[in-house]
């Protein structure tokens, strides 16, 4: 490589840290890397941006895919890559996006907390419908361009906060997305297990070798149900996240507990699934004879004759060949019925959800914990400080309260959420089965969201994780 040319290149190259301010503004941390809320230093615009520093150094396969795909995709409901920064010195790759203040993981969590406290959240009547419509539109665009998402879950569905795109859905985290019009290798060979268990379609759990559009649609069905009820419909205790075996007994059991065991006539090709033998050996269909989606949703006050339920049933169809497509789903009568879906999912009403918290840089490091806390508290408003203090004095839990203080702003919902998460866990899991691992929500093990809890909480016996 020519030295002079290299030097010239290095001098011309825009450096992310010179153009953007993001120090202390981490909002996400996961296997994909770190995400910061950033602003331009020269204030040529005052917009907020999300800067994603890709995990590891250099150009991994998933970084490569993400850049290759995002460089091409353009749709109002798909996250828009503004720019790529290559930092040659430390071999880091940075991606610049518009900043999305909200995501469905946080939104649903907020509603769960409210529900647990028997409070109502004031939001637009058609919000869930608008969210679903825009998710479908984004996925329709991806699918029509031969792109599968493969990792749809609430944490990957972003919603824009105040600004020109207020209340607009942005599908994100395309790290696993891939083109599927001419796979050079069977899709399953590349990443053995990618879709988060709870949102994973039954055919994947039964060993399907190829990802399909239908797999994304199942995940959308799961998200729709979760929006309607504030509960993950196929909630299941988590085993090891990285397993190369797609067959997952507990997750299938959970699906059958909600949906019932698939009848032969409903899913003719189930016999051809690689793990069909294991399925027959492990499961008795009589155990699920009382289960159906109608009953499950009815328990959550969603009436089977409603249009929402009818569409949900088409999305959550066990047989992938019978599952509805995104185009058809968008034409469903549900979307023609009042209230109609709106571009701003909040329909110009107030946004009740808190803004994202900032995370500290060394969540695991106990020594830096105190320093960090002081630093963060300096930035709190007096109101936030008061709220935090209240929690510390015993806002609801058995652990020394100071260990559970959530860092960052928006302290006011904290006590509620902790109460709620605790009660929720004990409800769903046998206490002696719990370990740190099993409690992890697959959506937030990887998402910064979870750090709100985990950065101050390492204890195994206190379950705040969901």
């Amino acid at each position: 490589m020519d030295l002079e040319w290299k030097e010239k290149r290095n001098n011309e190259r825009a450096k992310v840290e010179e153009l953007f301010g993001y120090e202390g503004c981490k909002v996400g941390r996961g296997t994909y890397g770190h995400v910061y809320k950033a602003k331009r230093k020269d204030s040529s615009d005052t917009k907020e941006y999300a800067l994603k520093q890709i995990e590891g150094s250099g150009l991994s396969m998933s970084a490569c895919r993400e850049i290759a795909l995002l460089r091409e995709l353009k749709h109002p409901n798909v996250i828009n890559l503004q720019r790529v920064f290559l930092s040659h010195a430390d071999r880091k790759v940075w991606l610049l996006f518009d900043y999305a203040e909200h995501d469905l993981w946080h939104i649903i969590k907020f509603h769960r907390a409210a529900k647990a406290n028997k409070k109502t959240v004031q939001v637009a009547k058609g919000m869930v419908k608008s969210l679903l419509y825009q998710i479908l539109d984004g996925i329709r665009y991806l699918h029509s361009n031969w792109v599968l998402h493969r990792d749809l879950k609430p944490a990957n569905i972003l919603v824009m906060g105040e600004g020109t795109e207020r209340g607009r859905v942005k599908i994100a985290d395309m790290g696993f997305a891939r083109l599927f019009n001419s796979p050079l290798k069977p899709l399953a060979d590349l990443d053995p297990v990618v879709v988060t268990f709870w949102y994973r379609a039954p055919e994947l759990l039964l060993g399907a070798r190829h990802y399909t559009k239908a797999i994304d649609i199942w995940a959308i069905g799961c998200i729709f149900a979760e929006l309607l009820t504030s509960e993950p419909i196929f909630h299941c205790r988590q085993e090891d996240i990285k397993t190369s075996n797609p067959y997952h007994h507990d997750q299938l059991d959970r699906i059958f507990n909600v949906m019932g065991f698939p009848q032969e006539k409903d899913w003719v090709d189930i016999k051809k699934m690689p793990e069909h033998g294991t399925l027959m050996k492990d499961f008795k269909k009589n155990n699920y004879s009382n289960c159906s989606l109608v009953k499950y949703m009815d328990r959550h006050k969603i009436k089977p004759e409603g249009k929402a339920f009818m569409l949900l049933q088409k999305l959550l169809t066990m047989d992938p060949t019978k599952r509805i497509t995104s185009e058809l789903a968008m034409q469903d009568p549900y979307f023609l019925e009042d209230p109609l879906p709106t571009q701003d999912v909040f329909a110009a009403g107030p946004i009740p959800y808190p803004k994202r918290d900032f995370l500290s840089d060394e969540e695991q490091d106990d020594k830096s914990e105190n320093k960090k806390k002081v630093f963060m508290e300096q930035n709190w408003t007096s109101q936030q400080r008061a709220a935090a203090a209240k929690v510390r004095m015993g806002g609801g839990g058995q652990e020394p309260a100071s260990k559970r203080v959530r860092l960052g702003h928006h302290q006011s919902n904290m006590a509620n959420q902790q109460n709620f998460s605790h009660s929720h866990m004990t409800q769903r899991n046998h206490p002696n089965q719990l370990s740190g691992r099993q409690q992890q929500h697959p959506g937030h093990v990887q998402q910064g969201a979870m750090m709100n809890y985990t950065n101050t909480q390492q204890s195994n016996n206190f379950n705040q994780r969901y």
């Binding site: 020519d2 040319w5 290149r9 091409e72 290559l86 891939r178 050079l184």
Partner: protein, 267 residues
């Protein structure tokens, strides 16, 4: 995108103008004649092909790697990065983009060493000189030079689709496919959309096999002048190959080629 070429970065940013291309190559063309420049590009396309076949990559990956190399030198002089380094780097990057799976660094380097030794000893008398760190560093510069446009549309898919419509027999398709491979040794992948390249190759294959395709082409709503232009580029290549013996000439060409200055020194 994968479905829509007309909205792709390939269409928007990487269909170049032939005048523009000449302009960009001017520094190199002060040292090399146009024909010599082309011979060097042919050599490194061959190198990528050999490397790809030894690594058992699909033609699609090889074609993308070749296009990466050509895109880089459409914007930079041969002096900036030694093509012997850029070629394996292009293969490395293309295999990730085309989702073939990542080639391990050690396998890439050892394959380069074997290929240089066994297949290109007529060009290089010394061992393949680069290591993983060079490839990784080079990859960033390649990515940067391409403005992160990684999805390359190749003529193979439209070729197969057109042939189905034309009712092409096996031998016409086979020949057209080979002509597409050969076209990677010309500038057409920088200048024309892949569907036009596919059509030109089909036309040439039909002529060779005396298959009447006049009616079919007449009914296509496409600019035949452009198809003819592509045909000229490819015919020029075949013309050159008639008298060109790479084994004899390449060493002196590589000697003449502008080279990077890797050590700080007096200028």
């Amino acid at each position: 995108m994968a479905g829509n070429f007309w909205q792709s970065a390939h269409y928007q940013q990487w269909l170049l103008d032939s005048q523009d291309l000449i302009q960009e190559r001017r520094p190199d063309l002060e040292v090399l004649s146009e024909e010599e420049y082309q011979k060097i590009m042919i050599f490194f396309s061959n190198f990528i092909q050999q490397l790809g076949e030894t690594l058992k990559l699909r033609q699609q990956v090889i074609a993308t790697a070749t296009t990466f190399l050509k895109r880089f030198y459409a914007r930079n002089s041969l002096r900036c990065i030694d093509p012997l380094l850029l070629a394996p780097t292009s293969v490395f990057l293309a295999s990730k983009v085309e989702e073939f799976g990542v080639i391990s660094n050690s396998r890439l380097i050892s394959t380069c060493q074997t290929v240089v030794k066994n297949k290109f000893s007529y060009a290089y008398t010394t061992e393949f000189p680069y290591r993983t760190t060079h490839i990784l560093e080079c990859e960033f510069y390649l990515l940067e030079s391409m403005d992160c446009c990684l999805i390359v549309y190749q003529p193979y898919r439209p070729l197969v689709q057109y042939m189905q419509d034309l009712g092409g027999e096996g031998e016409v398709l086979q020949l057209a496919w080979r002509i597409v491979n050969d076209s990677l040794r010309t500038d057409v992948c920088l200048l024309f959309p892949p569907y036009e390249i596919a059509l030109a190759c089909i036309h040439m294959a039909c002529v060779v096999h005396q298959k009447d395709c006049k009616q079919w082409f007449a009914e296509l709503n496409t600019d035949l002048d452009r198809i003819m232009e592509i045909t000229r580029y490819i015919l020029n290549l075949y013309e050159l190959w008639k008298t060109y013996d790479e084994r004899k000439e390449i060493q002196s060409l590589l000697q003449k080629m502008p080279k990077p200055q890797t050590q700080p020194g007096p200028r």
